[in-house]
């Protein structure tokens, strides 16, 4: 068990920034540029870690809780999740609730850290973040219900167990397909990607997540970026596992399959980002509600 935890952590910590690089590379290729090197995110993190801090005189100790929680939560959440074929290190009944609420914790502290600066822009960002998440959360819950129903269990480890492979072939497959779409949308929202949010825009008014961390600097900013990367990887792991439920048995192969899936997902995200325009804010709720209805439909399918 300890070994598994360690393995999971190392894989996570090593590969987390990579998908970001892949995404940026893909976008660059679509735009016909060469783009930054694949490992650019690693360089950025290293640079930020060497820099010093600058704090606004408005801020208090709450300001620092944002990065800390943002970093810690994925580290814990990942232990409940199987990376591809390797099964989840920790797994108990009802851990999926814990999984969801851990990210709730990080959202809470990111938001109040943003409000700590007293800047109206960051307040705006916090408001939007909590608003959209309260539309994304039910979708996540419905999708988890579908999985739990089809696996007849309440722990993520069992939900994403090997049985998924042949469930794709049964009548459950249809709803699995639906929730894959839903989870992809949730992934985009939670990790503030286009079309819901634009990580590297420079117009604060259009940002959601980025605007909340405007005032962070140095290692704190680094922790935030790293935490975001970890979060992206954890959620992608969920999606990848559902799409590629292969179980070769050999640890190395499974890991390889998983990483390939991860990169594939990153490429997909890159393609979406480079082909779609950012939605105008009022449209975002409509899209999210649509996704929620989709997940409800999936649930109805498995329950009948």
């Amino acid at each position: 068990m300890i070994g598994r935890i360690a393995l999971q952590l190392t894989v996570l910590l090593l590969f987390a920034p990579l998908p970001l690089g892949v995404i940026n590379k893909t976008k660059a290729l679509f735009a016909g540029r060469i783009g930054p090197p694949l490992l650019q995110p690693y360089y950025d993190l290293a640079r930020l870690w060497r820099k010093g801090f600058v704090f606004s005189r408005t801020t208090t100790w709450v300001f620092l809780t944002g990065p800390v929680v943002g970093l810690v939560v994925p580290l814990l959440a990942v232990q409940l999740l199987p990376f591809g074929g390797l099964q989840a290190p920790i797994s108990f009944t009802g851990d999926l609730i814990l999984f969801v609420y851990l990210f709730g914790l990080s959202r809470f502290f990111t938001a109040i850290a943003a409000l700590d600066t007293g800047s109206s822009f960051e307040g705006m960002g916090a408001a939007r973040e909590v608003t959209f998440s309260c539309l994304a959360e039910p979708t996540l819950l419905f999708s988890l219900l579908v999985l739990a129903r089809s696996a007849d269990s309440l722990s993520l480890g069992a939900l994403l167990g090997p049985q998924l492979a042949n469930q794709w072939l049964t009548e459950i497959g249809a709803s699995l397909g639906l929730i894959v779409v839903c989870l992809f949308v949730v992934l985009l929202v939670e990790n503030s990607r286009i079309p819901f949010d634009d990580p590297n825009t420079h117009l604060e008014l259009t940002m959601i997540h980025e605007v909340m961390v405007l005032d962070h600097s140095g290692p704190a900013l680094g922790m935030i970026l790293y935490g975001a990367a970890l979060k992206l990887m954890v959620m992608s792991a969920l999606l990848v596992r559902i799409v590629l439920p292969l179980q070769t048995g050999s640890l190395f192969l499974d890991l390889l399959v998983f990483l390939l899936g991860l990169m594939g997902l990153a490429v997909l995200i890159g393609m979406v980002e480079s082909t779609m325009a950012r939605l105008s804010l009022p449209r975002v709720p409509q899209v999210l509600v649509g996704t929620m209805l989709l997940s409800v439909f999936a649930l109805v399918l498995v329950l009948r």
Partner: protein, 655 residues
């Protein structure tokens, strides 16, 4: 037994000696506080005795009263409600020393303490009463004492209105309870409570409906919550903590106790509770987000949490009607644990809100801001309460919501049955949770962070120790339940077993509900957070803190440019436009060079302000018209009434 009776007597009479002290002296309040602490202590001993030994404390002595018997009983269910009661009452009493000192309030301080003690004693009595008359008496004493707590500052118009609405609501509920107990006891002479699971459910729908109305009115379940926001806002903070933390739970207690009497439960009871719970939860929190008065906001959160508790109870009832022990266990233990938790963190929140109001002198969130710098401890306690009430790990709120979630997930094991609709409880809980989170981000961020938004906030000061220590104690209790939930397992399991009558229940362990795993996870989260936080803090220790917030290029940021609570809530309130009908004022930016523009929004209560008040006004108008018609002052017409009565009676009786 004597411990229990002692605690009832000590608490209920706590305020009496104070009446004989000088108006300005502080001797009376110390004495009263001491009595209350003693009472709570002996009560805790009684509860501990019950929990440690497996036998229940009970006794009954005759009482010269038609249908009355002085019957008391302290079983697990009662204990689950008494435990938080003693904690909250004791902390509130200590807090009161600093918050409502006699020498600052010579006029109403003594009444406040008198009724504070009285309501506590009455609640202990009603939680342990086992006789209809005794229960009703304790119930009404509690209600009246609560009324006098609410109208402590009766010179204010709003306070009087809140008190009146509360009085109406509670008395109407009590009348329903009269009918309830009359029906329960019409075959027995003594009106003693029937034993668990002895009454046939057939033909008891009316009993259930009456109980739902009477107890739901007290609990503040959604359509019956009309009295709650105003009352909690009007009372002094530690009184609000008691009302919102404990008193409304007596309604839940009534529902739990009443449903425990029946042998089999009709399914529609459970469904009704589920629907009402979901409504209270979602609309309660939505209304809370739209409030800008910190105590009204917290009050609406009480409605929300009552909704969550009711969801748990509804699941348990469904479990009984569908005969599913696991569902019963999870639902009821979640319900009871959330009762305990809500009592703890809600009173913590009310107490810290009280210390903020004490410091700033206003209840408007938009007058606060930047308080964390000035009230570091209060801020910390409030943050703890906020995390707990949002149901986030590693605090106690998460544990109970987790149990209810597990209950809500149970139906996946039985596809195809109509029970599957109970699955919808889970998304409902999710929505409630996320909205609560948003709401507490708003209230903590707007009032404790950023820059002061008013001169009062700018010169706010930290509260005295007598107010800080109780809050710290409550926060510790929250953390304790969050990190060591297993310590409450025996209580919950025994309560569930008592409640569910003849069902044999599983245990809260293993693959049903691994509380130990939750506590491990809690420790992990806490440990990692503290460790990494400490690292980061050490690294950033000597960083410069002398520059202003990045204004995105704007050079002259002012306090007025901060996000207000209205603007923060706006995007969410718009999402719920269909159900809230908030009023929005201003916010339109006009012209090429727009001038000064205000934006604010306020949301009146759905039921009270939009439905009941107009209805009653119309009714009163109709009555006044009828009055001028009937009692028109002409003696001849009065004689006509007599003649008509005579004729009608003759024609009716001489057939």
């Amino acid at each position: 037994m004597m411990w229990l009776v002692g605690s009832i007597l000590l608490t209920s009479l706590a305020g009496v000696p104070g009446l004989f002290y000088r108006r300005e002296g502080s001797g009376g309040e110390r004495f009263a506080c001491g009595l209350i602490l003693a009472g709570c202590g002996s009560g805790l001993i009684a509860v501990a005795l019950t929990l440690l030994s497996d036998n229940v404390i009970q006794f009954a002595i005759p009482w010269s009263m038609p249908g009355g018997v002085l019957a008391l009983r302290l079983d697990a269910i009662t204990a689950a409600f008494l435990l938080p009661l003693f904690l909250v009452v004791a902390t509130g009493a200590v807090y009161g020393l600093g918050y409502w000192p006699q020498h600052n309030n010579p006029g109403n301080g003594r009444n406040l303490r008198l009724f504070y003690g009285l309501i506590s004693g009455a609640m202990i009595l009603l939680l342990s009463a086992r006789n209809g008359v005794l229960f009703l008496m304790a119930w009404e004493i509690m209600a009246l004492a609560g009324f006098f707590l609410i109208i402590t500052e009766e010179h204010k118009e709003e306070v009087r209105r809140a008190g009146f609405i509360y009085l109406i609501a509670t008395h109407t509920g009590t009348l329903a309870l009269f009918a309830l107990f009359a029906l329960l006891g019409h075959n027995s002479e003594s009106l003693l409570f029937p034993d668990m699971g002895t009454l046939p459910a057939a033909g008891s729908s009316l009993i259930f409906l009456l109980g739902l109305f009477g107890f739901g009115m007290k609990a503040g379940l959604m359509p019956m919550h009309i009295w709650l926001p105003g009352a909690h806002a009007a009372a002094p903070s530690h009184a609000s903590a008691l009302l919102s933390g404990i008193m409304i739970k007596t309604g839940i207690y009534g529902l739990v106790r009443m449903t425990s009497f029946f042998t089999e439960i009709p399914a529609w009871w459970g469904w009704t509770l589920l629907i009402l719970g979901a409504i209270s939860g979602i609309f309660g929190v939505a209304l809370a987000i739209a409030q800008h008065d910190i105590k009204r906001l917290l009050a609406y959160h009480s409605v929300e949490n009552i909704g969550i508790i009711t969801l748990g109870l509804g699941l348990a009832l469904l479990g009984r009607s569908y005969n599913q022990p696991a569902l019963v266990l999870l639902g009821l233990s979640g319900c009871l644990l959330h009762v305990v938790n809500h009592a703890l963190f809600k009173s913590l929140l009310f107490l810290s809100a009280g210390s903020v109001i004490h410091a700033v002198g206003s209840r408007e969130i938009d007058h606060f801001g930047g308080l964390l710098k000035r009230q570091r401890w209060t801020g910390l306690y409030f943050l703890g309460g906020a995390v707990a009430i949002s149901g986030l790990p590693p605090f106690n709120g998460f544990v109970s919501e987790w149990l209810i979630y597990l209950g809500a997930f149970q139906p996946i094991h039985h596809p195809g049955s109509s029970l599957s609709f109970a699955l919808l409880t889970a998304p409902a809980l999710a929505v409630i949770g996320v909205l609560a989170l948003a709401c507490f981000v708003k209230i903590f961020g707007i009032s404790f962070l950023g820059e002061p938004r008013s001169s009062g906030a700018a010169k706010a000061h930290e509260a005295p120790r007598t107010m800080l220590w109780p809050m710290g104690f409550l926060l510790l209790a929250c953390i304790w339940i969050g990190l060591l939930p297993t310590s409450l397992r025996p209580l919950l399991e025994r309560a569930a077993t008592d409640w569910s009558g003849n069902l044999t229940l599983p245990k809260l362990t293993g693959n049903l509900a691994p509380l130990s795993a939750i506590s491990v996870a809690g420790w992990l989260v806490l440990g990692l957070l503290l460790f990494i936080g400490w690292l980061l803090h050490r690294q950033s220790a000597q960083a410069s803190r002398d520059i202003g917030t990045w204004g995105c290029g704007y050079q002259f940021p002012a306090m007025r440019m901060q996000y207000t609570s209205s603007s923060f809530a706006d995007s969410l309130v718009r999402l719920f436009r269909f159900g809230l009908w908030s009023k929005r004022h201003g916010g339109q930016v006009r012209g090429l060079f727009p001038g000064r523009e205000e934006f604010s929004s306020h949301t009146p209560d759905l039921v009270l302000d939009r439905a009941l008040t107009p209805a009653f006004t119309g009714l009163a108008w109709l009555f006044r018209w009828l009055r001028s018609l009937i009692q028109n002052g002409i003696a001849a017409i009065y004689l006509l009434y007599i003649a008509l009565t005579l004729i009608v009676l003759l024609t009716l009786l001489l057939r």
